[in-house]
């Protein structure tokens, strides 16, 4: 009796090679079940499973914990305490990740593997995986924390399913962990699809505009996935195997035309996720319309999976040097320059689109697209500092964007709107949230002393030393646009006139504030002492075979001009000290006045007067560059959709013919003509 279900399961799972530890675990379970009447066995059971957990392969442990998170959220997601449980579980995942020690140690293969029809799917963690897994789990952790308290209460009260949210988040994390640990093409595609669908789920959770955006995302994502599948088929046909070793060998033996095809397929597929031009249109709405905490997660890490793919295949396997040899016919450009220019345009166009947004969520989401361009640009420059800057920007951007979105959604949580024309003056009501947003925008704009400056500096630096003036100017112009639009963001939300209806607004709840403040501290620390993050990046570079950045605790040592953030921040702080001394140390005491005690050209201001400059904030600039916003990409997208519609109409017309046998006769005639 007892064995028959087991044997059935064994038969079903013949393809699944379980790690040795799991057999032991199964033994423990069996034993425990046998003694289930004996209550004393429970403690033993608990101890043994803990021992098993400690003894197993670290990567398996990571996967298992992630899967456990998913399972528990599926089972217990409805409970009020599920949020806290989720935080603990993500924390456990983080601990499990640290225990893998694949960053400084050797790559570690997971023992879990699946064999399907002679093809083996397996996973392995190395420094690159560690780096991205750290970002993923970290994003999951702060998101779960942010969502655990007041936010989730509100979410529930609106009749939404807390379980669905928790599951979607856990599924995202799980899928990403699988993807970044993939060690062959099949497990890569498995992870890729899992990630795509999980983020679709997270976007579509709330329906309405979110669902529309999610559907658009899906159209892009599946097209991208199909390109990747095409690339996988190509690689398999050349290399005859799905293993990475064979793939590397296959790429080495490919002709230029084949590499071009591969580049277009893979690049296109990954570019969709990374939202590179011209595949960027889905991202802003999809990320902005996701439920608040979900938006934080998506914005922080989700699109980076595309970059991960590009790093593994285009930077790692094809290699920047090979890219440089691939000339585009009839031009002076190589494929590397092509990608670099796509990255540069991805910086410019979305950043200046962000400048036009009137919704804080959309503004940040558009910036998210633009920042992806810096990462790719750094990687495409390909020297030690540039590629390190690109990689480091993943980390810096993740913490920055998470903090920014959290702050914005905290405002939304309290005021009910993200409309930049409906807010203002909240700094007096939500000072801590303001602080978080301030740290975030300084980092996003890439100004010292925050984290974003370090990575952007590295990218600029490499562009200068490699002699790429136009790309450099483009990147800096992107940064300038960022400064403009983030100032608009903070001005319209926190500065200026406080509206009457927001007089009584309270500071964000503590459950949301703690992760926000934690991230802000991290943003500052990562700018002040970039050494630790640089050490991770250096390991990743080493593993990818790129030149390794010469890093120290404070930044980069280089005879041709390095960067020491400890000094720089120290000088800046000293400067602020001098400034404070000049301002506070001399002269009369300043007196606080009411916000309406203000110059109004001789008029008296009352509370009902909206005295805030928010709409069309950069009117002068828009007067000049406004006509450049032609919506060319939207036009492209719409014309593609229209083409598809037309083709579909034609296809459907074949089934709408009045004469049912017409096509049949035609086919018969055509076939016979072809045959004879």
């Amino acid at each position: 009796m007892a064995t028959s279900p087991t044997t059935v399961m064994d038969q079903l799972l013949t393809g699944l090679h379980l790690p040795d530890g799991l057999d032991a675990f199964a033994g423990v379970i069996r034993e425990s079940l046998a003694q289930v009447t004996n209550s004393a066995s429970w403690t033993r059971y608990g101890r043994q499973s803990l021992e098993w957990l400690i003894g197993m392969n670290p990567v398996d442990r990571l996967f298992m914990l992630s899967a456990l998170t998913l399972l528990l959220m599926l089972l217990l997601g409805r409970l009020r305490s599920a949020g806290v449980l989720a935080v603990l579980l993500y924390g456990a995942q983080f601990a499990a990740l640290l225990s893998t020690d694949t960053l400084f140690g050797a790559p570690l293969a997971a023992e879990v593997r699946i064999t399907v029809a002679d093809q083996s799917l397996h996973w392995s963690y190395d420094a690159l995986s560690w780096f991205f897994a750290m970002l993923t789990i970290g994003a999951g952790f702060v998101t779960a924390w942010y969502a655990a308290g007041s936010w989730m209460r509100r979410y529930r009260e609106a009749g939404r399913s807390a379980r669905a949210f928790h599951v979607a988040l856990a599924l995202n994390c799980f899928g990403m962990l699988l993807l970044i640990g993939s060690a062959d093409l099949l497990s890569l595609f498995l992870g890729w699809e899992l990630v795509s669908w999980a983020s679709f789920l997270l976007m579509a959770l709330v329906g309405g505009l979110g669902a529309q955006a999610a559907l658009k995302y899906l159209a892009y994502a599946i097209s991208g996935a199909m390109l990747i599948l095409g690339a996988i088929a190509l690689l398999y046909s050349v290399g005859g195997s799905f293993e990475y070793d064979a793939v590397v060998a296959a790429i080495r033996g490919m002709t230029d035309a084949q590499v071009w095809t591969l580049l277009l397929l893979l690049g296109g597929g990954f570019a969709v996720k990374l939202a590179l031009l011209p595949f960027h249109l889905w991202q802003a709405a999809a990320y902005a319309e996701a439920p608040g905490a979900g938006s934080v997660f998506l914005g922080a890490i989700s699109a980076r999976m595309g970059l991960f793919g590009i790093i593994v295949f285009i930077v790692g396997m094809i290699g920047v040097s090979r890219l440089m040899t691939l000339e585009i016919p009839y031009t002076f450009m190589s494929s590397r320059e092509l990608i670099a220019w796509i990255a540069a345009l991805t910086i410019i166009v979305p950043t200046y689109t962000a400048l036009q947004q009137h919704d804080a969520r959309y503004l940040l989401a558009w910036h998210g697209i633009g920042q992806g361009g810096y990462m790719l640009l750094g990687l495409m420059v390909g020297d030690a500092v540039g590629s390190a800057g690109g990689l480091l920007h993943c980390f810096n951007y993740a913490i920055t964007q998470a903090a920014l979105l959290m702050a914005v959604f905290a405002v939304v949580h309290r005021t009910g709107t993200a409309d930049l024309n409906q807010l203002g003056g909240l700094v007096t009501r939500m000072p801590l949230t303001f602080l978080v947003l301030l740290f975030g925008i300084i980092s996003l704009a890439g100004l010292p002393p925050m984290a974003g400056f370090v990575s952007k500096w590295m990218v600029y630096r490499s562009l200068i030393t490699e002699g790429m003036p136009l790309l450099f100017v483009t990147a800096v112009v992107g940064t300038l646009g960022t400064i403009l639009s983030v100032y608009k963001l903070i001005h319209n939300i926190f500065l200026g006139q406080l509206r009457v209806e927001h007089q009584e607004v309270a500071e964000a709840p503590l459950s949301m504030l703690i992760p926000m403040l934690g991230l802000s501290a991290l943003i500052f620390l990562a700018g002040f002492i970039p050494g630790p993050a640089l050490s991770w990046v250096a390991q990743v570079q080493g593993q990818l075979g790129l030149p390794v950045v010469p890093w120290v605790l404070g930044g980069i040592v280089d005879p041709r001009g390095g960067l020491d953030m400890i000094w720089l921040v120290g000088i800046l702080m000293a400067g602020f000290g001098v400034g404070a001394l000049v301002f506070y140390g001399f002269g009369g005491r300043s007196r606080r006045v009411h916000q309406l005690d203000n110059y109004a050209g001789g008029h008296f201001l009352t509370a009902d007067v909206h005295y805030q400059y928010s709409d069309n904030f950069y009117a002068g600039l828009m007067h000049l560059i406004g006509p450049w916003y032609r919506g060319a990409f939207r036009w492209l997208e719409r014309s593609l959709a229209a083409t598809l519609d037309l083709v579909s109409f034609g296809a459907e017309g074949l089934y709408r013919l009045a004469q049912p046998t017409l096509l049949m006769l035609a086919a018969a005639v055509a076939m016979l003509a072809w045959v004879l």
């Binding site: 013949t14 519609d645 035609a666």
Partner: protein, 525 residues
């Protein structure tokens, strides 16, 4: 104990069975799943006069018996193929049934799926109008006829016999489509009938050409003489005509104008049977012809081209579809195009991929049509349907994911098999097909999830779902098939291995010949 069963059937199928019930386990019993439903179909009307309950139960009983017999035979006889000469006349003079694993699998599927989608099952008797009660025996008889003919298609080893079964299935399906007396169904039936009948005419011409060239219609004998006699354009012409003839039921591209109309008007269960089951059997016939008789690469190419066109037109049209049954119909066209592409791949890979994708589509599309019984309205009216039926909506998502080919579901492995097969083929046409599949998949994902999202939307007040009677049975069947899908996805390795064995057996022409003619034919001549 010996039972004399002189059965003189309508269409020249002369059977004189000497059935020894003690030997019912042996191979000869395999004819029973063909004969018994046929018999029951003719007994249905008289029986209904005697007892309505008995008549209602007759169909399911016969089908259960048939399934049991096939399963038993399969287990008893083992994996090796066997052939049965009907009435003791040996091939090539007599009619043979050839039962390898593929045939048995599909014969079994016929019994099981007809049972699952049996028109009378799970329908609340009170809800049934008096007119319906009048129609029930007729409808059941037609369904039994369909089951019998479909089983015959799976097992038959003689081309003309196949043609007869095919026509029988056609007639039964005409009757089933317009069984519930709606005017639009009758119009659709007529249009379907013209296509189907003209297809049969062309197939008959093809058969005539074959006979003219070879002098036989026995598949095994054809397989022996085909390399000498059917190499030229004449042979290809015969194949083209047969492809057009049998392609009508297989929903191949230019021959499938009936599909959207019929599925939009026929009862959902009939659509499920036609789209899921009958189309597969028609494909099975084409594949048998392709393997045994027409081994020219051009023949495969013909199938490939039709498959590509089917995939593209089907999926693109589905993208524009506005009601659920028609969406499924177009999607079904696309999927059958995929089946055709898979079978056009050379060697075992193609057979494996083709069989897998056919089975996958059988499971998924049947279940989806089962769900359509509940959601038979326009797509806009589906908004909020998930509220009332969360599990059904979940099932829809599961099936949609598998259709699109999302790992780790079965659909993904199948698509991978096809893609690998096409890439290994490597011809420009193969790569074109690959591109078409990728493009179609993207389109497919979009429209399927447009529906899925609509299911989960809040309902639109003024366009509330007009609730069909709660189709518990159909939803239950969908659960069952969904569970099947999940189990197969988990046990993907054993499934693939089993299918590989099956495909190897199917692709073995010599095995076929040796099984039908135990001694070499040369001795006979």
């Amino acid at each position: 104990m010996t039972l004399e069963l002189p059965v003189d059937l309508l269409f020249g199928l002369n059977l004189d069975l000497n059935l020894d019930l003690t030997r019912v386990m042996t191979a000869n019993a395999i004819v029973l799943p063909v004969v018994l439903p046929l018999l029951a179909a003719f007994l249905m009307q008289p029986l209904a006069q005697v007892s309505r309950l008995l008549a209602r139960l007759l169909g399911p009983l016969v089908l259960t018996l048939g399934a049991w017999i096939i399963l038993n035979t399969w287990l008893e006889v083992g994996p090796a193929p066997f052939s049965v000469a009907i009435g003791g006349f040996a091939a090539p003079l007599g009619i043979v049934f050839y039962a390898d694993q593929l045939a048995l699998l599909f014969a079994l599927a016929v019994q099981v799926f007809t049972l699952l989608f049996w028109p009378g099952l799970g329908v609340v008797a009170k809800a049934e109008a008096a007119a319906d009660r009048q129609r029930a025996p007729r409808r059941d008889a037609l369904a039994l006829l369909l089951a019998s003919a479909a089983t015959g298609l799976a097992l038959s080893g003689d081309l003309f016999n196949i043609f007869v079964f095919y026509e029988l299935a056609a007639v039964a399906s005409f009757g089933l489509v317009c069984a519930d007396d709606s005017g639009r169904a009758r119009i659709a039936t007529l249009r379907y009938l013209f296509i189907s009948a003209f297809g049969s005419v062309l197939a008959l011409v093809g058969i005539a050409i074959l006979y003219l060239q070879t002098g036989t219609l026995n598949l095994a004998q054809l397989a022996q003489v085909a390399p000498e006699t059917l190499q030229g354009p004449i042979g290809l012409a015969a194949f083209a005509l047969l492809l057009i003839g049998f392609g009508v039921k297989a929903e191949l591209f230019p021959l499938n104008a009936w599909v959207p109309e019929v599925y939009a008007t026929a009862p959902a269960r009939v659509s499920a049977l036609l789209a899921g089951l009958i189309s597969k059997l028609a494909i099975l016939v084409i594949v048998r012809l392709l393997i045994l008789v027409f081994q020219q690469p051009e023949a495969s190419q013909l199938l490939l081209v039709l498959g590509v066109l089917g995939v593209l037109t089907g999926e693109f049209s589905a993208w524009r579809a506005q009601d659920f049954p028609r969406l499924l119909a177009f999607s079904s066209i696309g999927q059958l195009g995929l089946v055709a592409i898979a079978f056009s791949i050379d060697g075992t890979t193609g057979l494996l991929a083709g069989t897998a994708v056919a089975l996958h589509h059988l499971i998924v599309k049947s279940a989806l049509f089962g769900l359509a019984n509940r959601w038979s309205g326009g797509l806009d009216a589906l908004a909020g349907a998930a509220k009332g039926a969360p599990r059904a909506a979940g099932l829809f998502v599961l099936f949609a994911l598998s259709l699109i080919g999302v790992p780790p579901l079965w659909g993904f492995w199948i698509k991978l098999l096809i893609m690998v097969g096409l890439v290994q083929g490597g011809a420009p046409l193969d790569l074109l097909a690959l591109g078409a599949i990728l493009l179609a998949t993207a389109v497919e994902a979009h429209y399927l999830f447009r529906v899925a999202l609509r299911l989960y939307q809040p309902p639109v007040p003024d366009r509330a779902l007009r609730l069909a009677p709660p189709a518990r049975w159909d939803t239950g069947v969908a659960y069952l098939l969904g569970a099947c899908l999940v189990v197969i996805s988990v046990a993907i390795t054993p499934t693939t291995e089993a299918l590989r064995v099956l495909a190897q057996q199917t692709g073995d022409v010599l095995l076929y010949i040796d099984t039908v003619f135990p001694q070499p034919l040369a001795d006979k001549e």
